[in-house]
Symmetry: C2
Subunit: 474 residues, 2 copies
């Protein structure tokens, strides 16, 4: 494909994309294919000679689309949203073509510097404490990670290194292996935390205790304090807490004011995972939910979920970036450069070495929507969630689980878990809308998340109509 | 930005990209900006109201381009290449707009299934043993990771879990913490391995011994055997070897036939990191360098380096995918689905949970170039490297370091390290070409990598002319 062909095919793809997204309602949201469907549709090896663009292009509809779960359909209400916007797509075309690998400042200064500044922009939109901003003159700053899973892991690994060093400093005469020290460490999350937190514990080989929550599925300070006291009495060393703002199960919020105060008193690293809900904190009316972030050592949310920036763009801030670097700093000659230390070398801030120019899409989105435009997107989704909540409440057969705070409504038939399981299964088999369930404190419920940027009141009414119809049949 | 504006702006960006890449020779390959340049060029916060596309677009040249290191300039000879091709860019537009998150089969079946099949295609192109292919009916298969760093880490973590389980099975009566067991584990790489291997050891908290290499910078079987014997005698448990095919320093090749045989005899997981050189194994004349892969438990290379697939696309194969899953398997209700087990749920194969539809770009590239077209790209680069090698050899002041096997030429003035350091510094200050150095066995040398797909004989001659001119001035 030469430049002229690219101009033609690239534009054809742009039109295809616009057509796809504008007409996405016409497609069945959840595919009806069976596992293994695709292998039968294409050859079993790569062609010897290059194929024509036309043949590749037509296979998008023939091979790919029948197996796509359409996350951007207004009938998609599963998981949480993943963002998708035209400005982000356009920025990604640019990012792909510059195609630099921004592991150090020198490897492409613009890649590092735009990220530093735009993460400050975003931090200010969230009204993060100054210490988290790189422009504050301290050691803080933001970095774009791939996923919230990685942000949690990076925070835990950094806490681990800090505490190993503290242990060795406190007992310089004792020769002991890191693994032996680590076996004394304990970290905490709530029983409502995302599976990635448990996974971070597995990878870092740190015991991760999932603590019980209160009736609102919120981790409270006293629960944490009790666990710490118990563990210390048993000779363990508490090092890390992952608090969640907006759990995946039911969008519950840990009490980070209480939890953070305990962490600070006990000298424990608090990481806040606000993967989904964090985007909403750009609206002043939701910002109080973030109070307590001043106690956190690190904070993370995913603009690629609910802030119109395509995956992957997980925004993480730390108060002291040297604590991250300590966990990863390995510095061979071929990566050294003259300007080390003046700007961050982001390779020391995360697990992979290579990294794309991801700040471009964040920059394009912040500029083309503006703060007000993004706030309006958040408010629209929350409004739709409350509209759906009212529909559920108007039907005596159903009840709401938890509280509707953001764009997620948890609800169930006032019946057994089994009947609710059956209802969910039938809804997904029906195929007009798509949802996933969750189970909290042994109560199974359905989750309706407002996911697509194109969702409107009509879509919410439609979803409710489908749910009612399937319920009638049950 | 509505659909009509996207059609217009997206196409404008496609043209910009074509212009940028076709005229990239006109730009200074390495930017002359100083650290902190960018913050002065843009506001210190995001705009309240959305901005016009025209204003965002014109900032690409004003703000971004002055700070870009142009990795796709034929004057870029630093590090190793990162791939960039039109078919991959077009595929990424599609991937962005579908915007699914393929963590499970159900989350978007096409995303998982295309990856399974296309990784088989690629595995066949490399003539990998059947066991690595998912179509073989065994437990093997391929997965796209973000980076080689993550592939190494995933392999090491999987070996760690396997050996912890083995330890516990062998001594069921002893109650011992994982950390204590891990403190007995030891893994190996060569002193020439990439820094990411050392880093994987830090993250996994496994001792990573860097073993000496022979005069060709190759790790040999006997060296490994001696280390294993020594460590076993000291009560350690060897669990993992990372062998490298094509080191970053000098593109040296470990002897995987010897190393693999030792690993198999000793029951140790061999992972092969062929991040850069792996792409060349699609050419029959280079395939013998991969002999010994039959001994590996896992193998990885980066199509995003040298196979025309834009970052990120790091291809990893394993013989037994259950060994990966064991390290990561955490399965909450909201991620469960009816068809589990019939196709891979790739979230159990890597560190992040979320994942883009990356197989699309691999598929587009394999189809539009064809196997022959990709082979020709590899051969062209190797030919250019040999042309440059001849130029160096024709000048008595210089010597080649190591052997030129792929697209990398290591060379130096027959003088002190200090003078070579000065030469490299002056070349980069001159700014017409860009290179980075390396140091092996205390010998400092310059690395000229053929990086850009547009590189031709004239570019190699030009680079040599610049080097000679700067040498004259020295």
């Amino acid at each position: 494909m030469d430049a002229d062909e690219f101009r033609r095919c690239g534009k054809e793809m742009v039109d295809f994309v616009a057509d796809y997204l504008e007409n996405i309602r016409d497609r069945r949201v959840f595919p009806s294919v069976q596992p293994g469907y695709l292998r039968q549709l294409i050859p079993d090896q790569a062609p010897e000679d290059g194929e024509r663009w036309e043949d590749v292009f037509k296979d998008i509809e023939r091979v790919i689309m029948p197996g796509v779960t359409h996350w951007h359909s207004p009938q998609f209400h599963a998981y949480y949203p993943t963002a998708n916007s035209y400005p982000a797509i356009v920025a990604d075309i640019l990012s792909d073509s510059i195609g630099c690998i921004g592991f150090s400042w020198a490897s492409s200064p613009a890649c590092t510097e735009l990220e530093v500044v735009v993460m400050d922009w975003l931090g200010k939109m969230l009204d993060l404490p100054e210490e988290f901003l790189s422009g504050s003159g301290g050691y803080g700053g933001g970095v774009i990670q791939s996923t919230a899973s990685e942000a949690t892991l990076v925070a835990l690994l950094s806490a681990r290194v800090r505490e190993i060093n503290n242990f060795k400093k406190a007992k310089p005469d004792i020769k002991v292996e890191n693994g032996v020290i680590m076996s004394k460490f304990v970290a905490y999350c709530s029983e409502q935390s995302h599976s990635s937190v448990e996974r971070a514990g597995l990878i870092a080989s740190i015991k991760m205790r999932a603590l019980p929550t209160d009736e609102d599925c919120s981790l409270r300070g006293q629960t944490l304090q009790d666990a710490i006291d118990e563990d210390r009495a048993n000779g363990l060393i508490p090092i890390f807490v992952c608090a969640t703002l907006g759990t995946t199960n039911s969008c519950a919020f840990d009490n980070v004011l209480e939890v953070g105060a305990v962490c600070n008193k006990e000298g424990i690293w608090m990481h806040i995972d606000a993967a989904y809900a964090g985007s909403a904190f750009i609206c002043p009316e939701f910002r109080p939910l973030l109070d307590g972030v001043q106690y956190a050592e690190s904070f993370n949310f995913n603009p690629h979920k609910w802030l119109n920036v395509n995956f992957d763009c997980s925004a993480m801030w730390v108060k002291n970036s040297y604590l991250l670097s300590e966990a990863f700093n390995v510095d061979p000659l071929y990566l050294k450069h003259e300007n080390q230390g003046k700007m961050p070398d982001y390779r020391h801030w995360h697990i992979p070495l290579g990294r794309r120019f991801r700040s471009l899409k964040l920059w394009f989105v912040l500029r083309m929507y503006g703060q007000k435009g993004l706030q309006e997107c958040i408010r629209k989704d929350v409004r739709l969630a409350h509209e759906f909540e009212e529909l559920v409440k108007s039907d005596d057969r159903f009840e709401i689980f938890g509280k509707v705070v953001m764009g997620l409504v948890c609800f169930r038939l006032k019946k057994s878990n089994e009947i609710n399981e059956k209802l969910l299964k039938e809804i997904n088999t029906d195929g007009r809308i798509h949802m996933v369930p969750a189970k909290v404190k042994d109560i199974y419920f359905l989750r309706l998340a407002i996911c697509a940027s194109r969702s409107n009141s009509g879509d919410v009414t439609f979803a409710w109509k489908v749910i009612q119809e399937v319920t009638e049949k049950l």
